[in-house]
């Protein structure tokens, strides 16, 4: 019996040893330490831009480290799983501050306070964005780019149909009604393949119909999510959907890429979408068509403000893995990304994803192509708006994860599967639970 037991244990140990003999080397052939970053599966031309502007530049700047970026289509899931097992890349890509909070509270990502002080990030980065990356007063993530939801429009379509650029919701609705009568889409957009697209529309209607101030009250707990103004905003979204203002019946059948193509093909006057859509527009608004693409802030209901009003968001966040052996170097890389130089170089060939949230934005558009110029202008206007406090909130950025998931169900209101009040009651229950757990990020206050 004893022999059997010894035999079994030996076999088990041998197998475990062999299983553990994996190659975990993190150095290159020429002895450089590797710093890793995981990123979403960007198209090849964008990967090339990131290689030239970030990877090659950094790797040539010193001889000790080599930056490598892995492109993964399921980056959010991969990062959660890897970090929970104490692994993962040195630089952690996240889909927003609410994604970061559980990781920060579990000690999976590094407290960036000392780097913030060293590099002066607090002085350089827009306050609302900097604050949204903090957890219990300490910095854990940096927003890589500003993002807002607004109106992309085809200038030629508006001109050909004698439609003015809409300044009010009423004008916008009138143009969309006429477009439908002419057999066009009122606007194009869609969530095919990526349900979180819905967050753009829950955010849009909250910001521009309920108002940033009302949403601030709900986020800080001074009013309920069932507030009549919020319910009315969601009811309006359902009215718009049913009227066909959100891509008619094709909302679930279109991607952003297909939508920009339809806009370029003059099948619709508008595309309500996030400013990051500029990165998809390069394919469809190429050559002479590039000058036809316009972007404007979404008008607010009842002309609450004459100034442009923005839904405040970031496209992604960047953090440092708490297990990284090269935290200082990772912070140095993050710092190079938080600069005007990086924004200008990236935007030149990759508009839409690198609107660095800097207070003192210095954009040189002199040698930028048409779309990059337009994007740079959009971000500059947004920074002005945010500095004036004219903003509402992206649900994916300022709401905790489970509450955000309920907001993605806005389409249930549109399809009459539930009422706005029922949805907001669910939101309130989940929001209260997550607020109690400290999962709500700091909320910047908009101007009154």
């Amino acid at each position: 019996m004893k022999k059997k037991l010894v035999g079994l244990v030996t076999i088990f140990l041998v197998m475990v040893i062999f299983a553990g003999c994996s190659n975990d080397s993190k150095t290159t052939a020429d002895g450089k330490e590797i710093i890793t970053m995981w990123f979403w599966g960007a198209p090849p031309e964008h990967q090339e831009t990131l290689k030239k502007v970030l990877i090659d530049k950094y790797n040539k700047s010193q001889n000790e480290y080599e930056l490598k970026i892995e492109y993964r289509n399921s980056v959010d899931k991969d990062i959660s799983v890897a970090l929970s097992s104490g692994k993962g890349p040195d630089i952690v890509y996240g889909s927003g501050p609410s994604f970061v909070i559980p990781l920060a509270e579990a000690g999976r990502i590094e407290n960036l306070d000392k780097y913030a002080e060293k590099y002066g990030w607090k002085d350089r980065i827009l306050d609302p964005i900097y604050e949204s990356g903090t957890v219990n007063g300490s910095l854990y993530s940096l927003g890589n780019s500003l993002n807002t939801v607004g109106i992309f429009y085809n200038k030629k379509v508006l001109k050909d149909n004698n439609w003015p650029e809409p300044k009010t919701v009423e004008e916008l609705e009138r143009i969309m009604d006429e477009a439908i009568e002419k057999g066009m889409y009122a606007s194009v957009t869609g969530n095919k393949g990526w349900k979180p697209v819905n967050e753009n529309y829950s955010s849009l209607f909250l910001t521009h119909f309920a108002g940033g101030e009302k949403v601030y009250e709900a986020l800080t707990g001074t009013t309920k999510w069932t507030d009549p103004a919020i319910i009315a905003a969601l009811d309006t979204s359902a009215k718009w959907y049913k009227k066909g203002y959100l891509a008619g019946k094709d909302y679930t059948n279109l991607t952003f890429n297909e939508s920009t193509q339809l806009l370029a093909d003059e099948k619709a006057p508008f595309f309500f979408g996030p400013s990051l859509v500029y990165q998809f527009a390069a394919q469809s608004f190429s050559g002479d068509k590039a000058k036809d693409l316009g972007f404007m802030a979404f008008p607010t209901k009842d002309h609450q403000t004459n100034d442009p009003y923005y839904t405040l968001g970031v496209t992604a966040t960047l953090s440092i893995n708490a297990q990284s052996k090269h935290k200082d170097e990772a912070a140095k890389i993050l710092d190079t990304m938080m600069t005007n130089e990086f924004m200008n170089e990236m935007t030149k060939t990759w508009p839409g994803y690198w609107g660095i949230p800097l207070k003192d934005l210095q954009i040189d558009t002199s040698d930028m192509p048409e779309l990059s110029k337009a994007y740079a202008e959009t971000i500059k206007n947004m920074v002005d708006g945010v500095n004036k406090g004219h903003f509402g909130y992206y649900t994916g950025v300022f709401l905790p994860p489970a509450t955000q998931q309920i907001f993605l169900d806005i389409e249930s209101i549109w399809n009459e599967q539930m009422t706005s009040t029922e949805l907001m009651k669910k939101v309130q229950v989940e929001f209260d639970k997550e607020k109690e757990k400290g999962l709500v990020p700091p909320i910047p206050k908009p101007s009154e």
Binding site: G7, K77, R108, T252, Q405
Partner: protein, 286 residues
């Protein structure tokens, strides 16, 4: 010595079973009673709170109902098509192999490939078949966009990829039917239906039973086509237990609740396994 060799031979399978089946299974059960968010090192024990919350969650019941509808569709449509096709192929001498290859083709393609094919070539309202039909004036919408038809549209794609596999399995089983029984049945004057009912079907019953149970099990685990085609939408109309669990685990950071849903999925798999054992015993008795 012989025993040591035996242990050595079974040790890889045993180790794999322990490491990737037993331990994760046990952890899933434990996690279902916690509020673990997937990254925290200190999850709290919350008793049956996850289950209580699921019981009052309308989307959970909708997902369960969708899984039941899905199972019902899969234990009827592909089985009927598969059996019919297999019976027709049985009589074909030369073209049998070619047909099998053609019918099996969607099954050997990756689900992602099939999903992209259907999304972009069939359902696409701009460039797909739907788009073309709209262009020539036929008022048609993609079935994926309606809460009333999306589930059936997704199931149709999955059935399209799956029925060929059933055909091949049934055909292989049908070919094992003893030729003398078939000849005797013909001599007794049986018609086609009677030969199928009293000769072929009893002969393939073990294969039929195991495939029936496997379909039930896979129906409660189904994920790929739903996730790829609709992600559970629109408005949860195609939500399955698996997609709902995925959302909890990877989007809402509620792994405890996802584990609770996974236990429900396992429970239905267990029920299907019990059904198979019961059917096998009955077969042996008869």
């Amino acid at each position: 010595m012989r025993n040591t060799v035996n242990y050595f031979l079974i040790s890889p399978a045993l180790l794999i079973s322990i490491l990737i089946v037993f331990i994760p299974g046990l952890l899933t059960v434990i996690v279902a009673f916690t509020d673990w968010n997937g990254v925290s090192t200190t999850p709290n024990f919350v008793g049956i709170q996850n289950f209580n919350e699921l019981f009052v969650d309308g989307i959970f019941w909708k997902a369960l109902l969708n899984n039941a509808k899905w199972t019902l569709m899969f234990v009827t449509v592909p089985i009927v098509i598969g059996l019919l096709t297999a019976m027709m192929l049985l009589k074909r001498k030369k073209s049998k192999s070619a047909y099998q290859l053609i019918f099996l083709f969607p099954y050997i393609l990756a689900p992602t490939t099939n999903a992209i094919l259907w999304l972009n070539i069939i359902f696409n309202p701009v460039s797909g078949v739907i788009g073309y039909l709209k262009e020539i004036g036929i008022p048609i919408e993609s079935p994926l966009s309606s809460v009333n038809t999306a589930l059936y549209a997704v199931a149709s794609v999955d059935i399209w990829h799956y029925w060929g596999f059933l055909t091949v399995i049934y055909l292989a089983a049908l070919r094992q039917t003893p030729a003398e029984q078939i000849e005797a049945a013909y001599l007794e004057g049986c018609n086609g239906w009677q030969i199928f009912r009293y000769v072929y079907f009893p002969s393939i019953r073990p294969t039929f039973n195991i495939m029936f149970v496997m379909i039930i099990i896979f129906s409660f685990l189904t994920f790929d086509y739903v996730y790829l085609l609709t992600g559970g939408g629109p408005s949860h109309s195609t939500e399955m237990l698996s997609t709902y669990a995925y959302t909890f685990a990877f989007s809402a950071f509620q792994v405890g609740k996802a584990a609770a849903i996974a236990l429900f999925m396992s429970f239905f798999g267990l029920l299907a396994s019990c059904l198979y054992i019961w059917m096998s015993r009955n077969d042996l008795k008869n």
